[in-house]
Symmetry: C2
Subunit: 343 residues, 2 copies
């Protein structure tokens, strides 16, 4: 499924690469009959005029494509994503490579855009985010044969390169810490079950809960929005036996959860400990400040850009890069549960 | 300085547009001599192969360029910019138009990129942000003759289209409100003096201070960073006669200022009122919550995208669009000054 090059056409027709280049670019230097034959073969091989620049050797689109199947309104809200994009842009811009961004309705539209941009050679490679369990986009990108790097893993990204952090390890560190504080009933306000990282975190909690013999460890799925984060928190805190600690899959949801605790008169951290995956200014200026799994997201984005540029520079290269595991930064929202203190 | 089209070349050579199209695209259908003549004229007119798609009538890059001369690390931090970009992307994506983003070192590099992208036809138009006083980029974009829309105004954007909000009116509404509360000594922690909107806000404060006969109204310039916002606040609160109200040019700086007030034991709002230009989750979750000039930034970005798409669809169209003036939303950080209450 590799796009045909000038060399492929030259071989098929039995002429020099120069002759093909002249013919395809409408320059003099090749006879009319040969020109017609070259154009005919180019058409049969599905060679597209737009990829001329690249086929001619080395000239690039100087852009990396990022197609996002999320509601646009949520993009400016999530500090993690904004920081990641900044780091990505910083890394690419250092090499004067632009980021070619489009928001689409769903994954089907996303793969459609991959095909279009690849054939029109709008970009030199793709960044794929929001890796899902058995993600159909992986095969599409593999078939297109364009450089692509997946944000997410380990595993689940086929033959494509990937950059990831250890979500399982991060979740285990939180569960261990909360258990050490004395928490026996924990909840996890998770993202969409289709996301690979959501699944990893959910499994890590369940596995560790078994080993630690916790009384309760439940994961509740949401769409990552603050409203669903709030609703999940209301449901959890309305139970006759409440969890004493809740881990949220994002800082935005943790903040929403903190708001619900306030509205229901549940004291944080005395009656409820709160931990956020993803750290940002939101967790730091919240009142009380929220304990969070923290990493340098800007640096993470920059590192991703470097891998992307390597893969573009050397087609066929496959990188599988683990980045630093997010570390738990403890602030004011976590403490031993009051019931436990009273024992 | 308009890019030559197929029609221009056809006119010069004295052949049909179809003949020019055949010749430039290396397709049969035109004699060798005519082809050579067409290619010669195309070369003289500086016609570039990359703009073929467009010259052929209607085919577009399906992308809008945004070149930003700001440190990448600040982009993920400022909620206003993140929201604006989200709205812009939402508006463009609705028409399947991508945003082609690059971060550069300075304005010179920015104009260089404008030239490159225009000649290689990487984009159908440009979004220009951070409008400055006597901005050199305006002339560059005018000369390139590509569709462009400036974020900023009114005025100062030459013959280019622009989308803007009334910064002067917004600042006047804040000064009037603070004066009505009894404040006589106000400060303005402003952005870079080169920015047109900074200049407008600074002038509005000075003009109104004169009319209201305020005791003091000073604008201090910063680079918009939280560290310079904090430093400016420290300097203002270290004066023997402090301002009783400070207006910050961004939510990020207002938050930094609130932190400094806390560190220096200056009570907000009793001893110091704080107002932020730009509203976001930061001002809402701050403690106390910060009064701010608020607007729907996502909708603003979307409106901008619509104007951009209109200008691309109808080259030569000039739009000058005023959007809703930011409205003061009063929260917990503004009150009558204590000294005044004690009178």
């Amino acid at each position: 499924m590799r796009r045909p090059t000038i060399a492929d056409i030259a071989e098929r027709v039995g002429v020099s690469k120069g002759a093909v280049s002249f013919a395809l670019n409408g320059r003099p230097g090749v006879g009319e009959a040969t020109r017609a034959r070259i154009l005919q073969v180019a058409k049969e091989m599905n060679w597209r005029p737009h990829s001329a620049a690249r086929a001619l050797g080395g000239a690039r689109a100087e852009a990396v494509g990022l197609v996002i199947a999320r509601p646009a309104s949520t993009l400016g809200v999530e500090p993690f994503f904004a920081q990641l994009l900044s780091g990505l842009q910083a890394g690419l811009s250092a090499q004067s490579v632009a980021l070619h961004l489009l928001i689409v309705e769903d994954v089907e539209a996303e793969t459609e855009v991959y095909r279009e941009w690849a054939s029109a050679h709008r970009v030199d490679g793709f960044v794929m985010v929001d890796l899902k369990v058995r993600d159909p986009r992986i095969e599409v990108l593999e078939d297109l044969g364009v450089p692509a790097v997946v944000l997410g893993g380990p595993g689940g990204h086929g033959n494509l390169s990937s950059v990831w952090a250890d979500d399982r390890g991060a979740m285990l560190s939180v569960v261990d810490y909360l258990a050490a504080l004395g928490h026996r009933r924990m909840a996890h306000v998770a993202g969409l079950p289709a996301f690979l990282h959501t699944q990893r975190r959910t499994r890590a909690l369940r596995d560790r809960a078994g080993r630690l013999d916790l009384e309760e460890a439940v994961s509740v799925h949401t769409d990552f929005s603050d409203s669903e984060g709030a609703a999940a928190t209301r449901a959890l805190l309305s139970r006759s036996r409440r969890p004493t600690a809740i881990v949220y899959d994002s800082d935005v949801m943790a903040l929403a959860g903190l708001g619900v605790a306030g509205e229901m008169g549940v004291k944080v951290p005395d009656e409820l400990s709160i931990v956020a995956f993803d750290d940002s200014v939101l967790t730091r200026i919240a009142h009380p400040a929220i304990s969070a799994l923290s990493r340098d997201t800007f640096a993470f984005g920059k590192q991703f850009a470097e891998v992307m540029l390597e893969v573009i520079a050397e087609p066929g290269l496959r990188r599988d890069v683990e980045t630093a595991t997010p570390r738990l930064v403890v602030r004011e929202s976590t403490a031993p549960p009051r019931a436990w203190q009273d024992d």
